[in-house]
Point group: C3
Chain length 404, copies 3
């Protein structure tokens, strides 16, 4: 007895149960449901899978290393500095080939500054004075060049001059650059060495051609079709691709973003993962009217004379700042996102069925009869009339809350 009992219990485990359906010969709703199904299937296959690659696990935590090297030489001839030759060691700041580098295109040198007393720059706010009271001894102005000595150096007795300050004298004079001094800077070339690594898939690649021909990188220039793996760019081309003229930017300086984009479909393999270069000007927002454009800063060189006294050369340099950013993501087939997308798609079908039920049961005139059949009453089939009435009356609310 017990044996047969257990056996029965065990066997029944493998009886397959399937949901019972009611066929409603209603073409309107049928067509509606088919349309919903088709649209959902279309969405899953077409959009999620083909267009968005919903079946892939993606890795966006790209590890990257960028090394830059600029080549080119230029000559400037100014009254202060004379005829000077500029090499990368001078015009690339910092010189060690970082991913963010500044290239001098124009400069103003204030040659031999010594610590001492001289007049504040007339352009400095609150630097002007009527008499010594205006120049409080020891006072320092944020935008000023030194510490006030307490004396007011007037042009004449009454008119406003500026306060005397202890500073590096002579003060840098006002300067609006008249075009770039390193005129041929746009012919300099920048070599951008980039190595990337996707830890999740342990995939690595470089943007430099893998060859043994050592002279290749000496001659080639980047070309999307011919030389996609020769990351050597002419500065003028970079700004042009960003939509600006190099000479215009060179005068007051500017900032260029170079984005290296790696979109890798690793299901296709190593050779289908290419770097793409995008160039954008970073110091100009959409609406052109901004006061934040231009880029310059000051640099010093310190010297000591025979007596050991310190003096310095102050350089106000204008130039273009290149900011190399590496972005990328790699995708590879993975069961989890696939399951999530398929699953959620199927679940949406349930929502479609619910919607069609609502239509069938409440918008079709034969809805009541469908309801009766869809919802089997507990009591025996032959139920009293008023029962049915109540039933029908109740149903509406019932359904709404039911299959929701």
């Amino acid at each position: 007895m017990a044996g047969s009992f257990l056996k029965g219990r065990f066997l029944s485990l493998f009886d397959y149960k399937t949901e019972k359906y009611i066929v409603a010969k209603n073409k309107k709703v049928g067509v509606l449901y088919r349309l919903i199904q088709l649209s959902i299937i279309g969405y899953i296959i077409g959009w999620v899978f083909l267009s968005k690659k919903g079946y892939q696990e993606t890795d966006e935590a790209i590890q990257s290393s960028v090394i830059t090297k600029v080549k080119g030489v230029s000559v400037t001839n100014t009254s202060e500095s004379g005829l000077v030759v500029w090499g990368p060691e001078d015009y690339v700041i910092p010189p060690q080939g970082e991913a963010v580098l500044f290239i001098v295109t124009s400069f103003l040198e204030t040659p031999t500054q010594k610590l001492g007393y001289c007049a504040e720059n007339a352009k400095v706010l609150n630097g002007h004075c009527q008499d010594d009271e205006d120049c409080e001894k020891g006072k320092m102005i944020v935008a000023g060049n030194g510490i006030m000595s307490g004396r007011c150096l007037g042009k004449n007795k009454n008119s406003t001059g500026t306060c005397e300050i202890y500073a590096w004298c002579p003060i840098e004079r006002n300067f609006k650059p008249q075009g770039p001094l390193l005129s041929n800077a746009e012919n300099f070339t920048m070599y951008i060495k980039n190595f990337i690594h996707f830890p999740k898939f342990s995939f690595s690649k470089s943007n430099v051609l893998e060859t043994n021909d050592y002279s290749y990188l000496k001659k080639c220039r980047y070309d999307e079709q011919l030389h996609p793996y020769c990351p050597i760019f002419r500065l003028g081309d970079i700004t042009r691709r960003a939509g600006y003229n190099f000479q215009d930017m060179a005068t007051f300086g500017g900032s260029i973003g170079i984005v290296i984009q790696w979109d890798c479909d690793l299901d296709k393999g190593y050779s289908y993962c290419h770097p793409q270069y995008h160039f954008t000007r970073l110091d100009i927002s959409i609406s052109e009217k901004t006061i934040a454009t231009g880029f310059n800063f000051r640099q010093t060189q310190y010297f000591r004379n025979a007596a050991g006294e310190r003096y310095r050369s102050l350089f106000k340099v204008y130039g273009v700042r290149f900011n190399i950013m590496v972005h990328g993501k790699a995708g590879k087939f993975n069961i989890i996102p696939t399951a999530i997308n398929v699953g959620s798609g199927l679940a949406l079908m349930g929502a479609g069925a619910f919607f069609c039920d609502m239509v069938l049961l409440y918008l079709m005139k034969k809805g009541d009869s469908y309801r009766e059949r869809k919802f089997e009453e507990t009591k025996s089939k032959k139920s009293s009339a008023e029962d049915n009435n109540v039933e029908e009356r109740n149903d509406p609310m019932e359904q709404e809350n039911l299959t929701f």
Copy 2:
């Protein structure tokens, strides 16, 4: 015949089928199921959509460019260096306006170091010696200042002195800064220019007000309410917002993180995407007891005398390091995450229904009769008694595995 066959087949395609339900007049389970439904609906609408914006596709790969400019001047007066004026070109390291910049607040100069022989610093481990055996010729200590000459310079015959080394002499003396030298550094102002770009939505913005009033940036200071787009900060305010006093940090140095947060709901539009500034001290972890605080490093200036011999000035500089990090994410309505969230929510309803079935069929005393009706036997309705018995006995296992 064939025609009618195909016609029937085709038409039947559009018969709508709907699942058959059984009405169990059981209020307990009914209420339970309603509660589950409500909670799931509440979770989907309230939590996923309103609070977490589950209907949005997000882009967290923000592209950003940061340019900084510090203004201010200070004066120091030390025995070695005398009265010196410090401008941004001196106290900002590096001077070219990077996103990571160091501002000198205190320093120790060792003026005219020449290469030669002198005694090792007494603070250096293993630098001490009893006699020449302890100072192996040519030996270099990792934390030392030079290469040992092999001689031991004792204070007197027996007591421990230090080894003689070939190094830049005189050796830098030990130094514990007594408060900052650039005392007014906290009044310096930092201008943080930030441009961002969300590639996925090709959306760009800057944190600088878009105006034509060139004097605006000369006068304004950042204020969350009044001037949210004037990114000019007083150093003292930055440290204060980070919860620390500038003067305390200035003495031994420290590190401050400035996070610019862009949380953009692009469904609302351009003007609803604002930068938020957060300031945190980076060199102190939660539990204050750490030995890793403070920040200093050494710098040199090289000179040559008339004879062409090299000598140098060594600067040990203390200061505050500002690390500007830009984070952000943009969200925009997208059908895929919406579908995933709705779909998974609906699927959870299935789990709820399964749970209620379990309750109804096994915890209610009328469970057996419900089972009978829920699971329609293959055989004709009038089944023999022992059949039913077996049926009932089997069911439990059946269900459990069934609708799971």
Copy 3:
């Protein structure tokens, strides 16, 4: 009457409805369905939850600050520079402890360069000339060292010499480093201070031991087991862990990536979140055959003689570039991803059921009878024979599209 009506309507709200199932005593399909269920359950529990932590919300936008400090001293002896002592202030570029730092291991000094006229380097392309026509006055070659004066300096009358240029003379001579000059650089130590912050969970941690023992960091060395929180590394060990010999890299230079990985399961707590260090060489791609290895750049020191004339020392430095990257993600239980994963898993069960239906109804020989029962016809049970026939014929298409 109305009262009872409303009452009935209200009560019926809480009638529980459950789907009606048909028991198909078919072991084959039953077993198949059980297997599908088990595999899906196994996938959800085992893979999604245990292995991939699918129940966690993750934060990958890690905020991090890195400060480095290198210690060690070395001596070089060259004909140009003589016996020179190198400290961190000299061989670490830049010296201020950035996350990307370059350490000089070899160099070539071109001591006293003055602006003037001399012969172009013979290695420069297009630098050679037969006569003055080849040296167009004022012409500058991208890879050259200066501006052409227009004269051709031939070795003898006919053979090819090089053009005369105005440049910093003498020109740097060609140089292939014969092994590193800072021979003991591999014994230098690098201290990597890293602070991280996960904004989403407002969780912060440092990679430095939290102790009061100030001498700890003076003595310890990193050891995964013994000193996981002593981030002080010997340069030689770093390259060794990256799989390369320091001396080999030191000769021509190279680039090393140091990845600090923070994988934090915040459900376990603060003490279960440890930094892991990975070392990889960045300037060599998988297939060793690349021309992009090595790393060097040029640096200058400017001097003025008694007459105030500028002259400079040009340093071509080779060395190892360390690029410290911080990655990490933190995970914490969250209801949303859990719901998404469970929901989509359940939805997959529906797909399983659909598949089994197909098998049952079309591959089993008793399929027709199952179909009849699964799909209840609108018309009264006793349906005419030809009806059934049509029914059967139609069904195939029906199902396929139906439960899809």
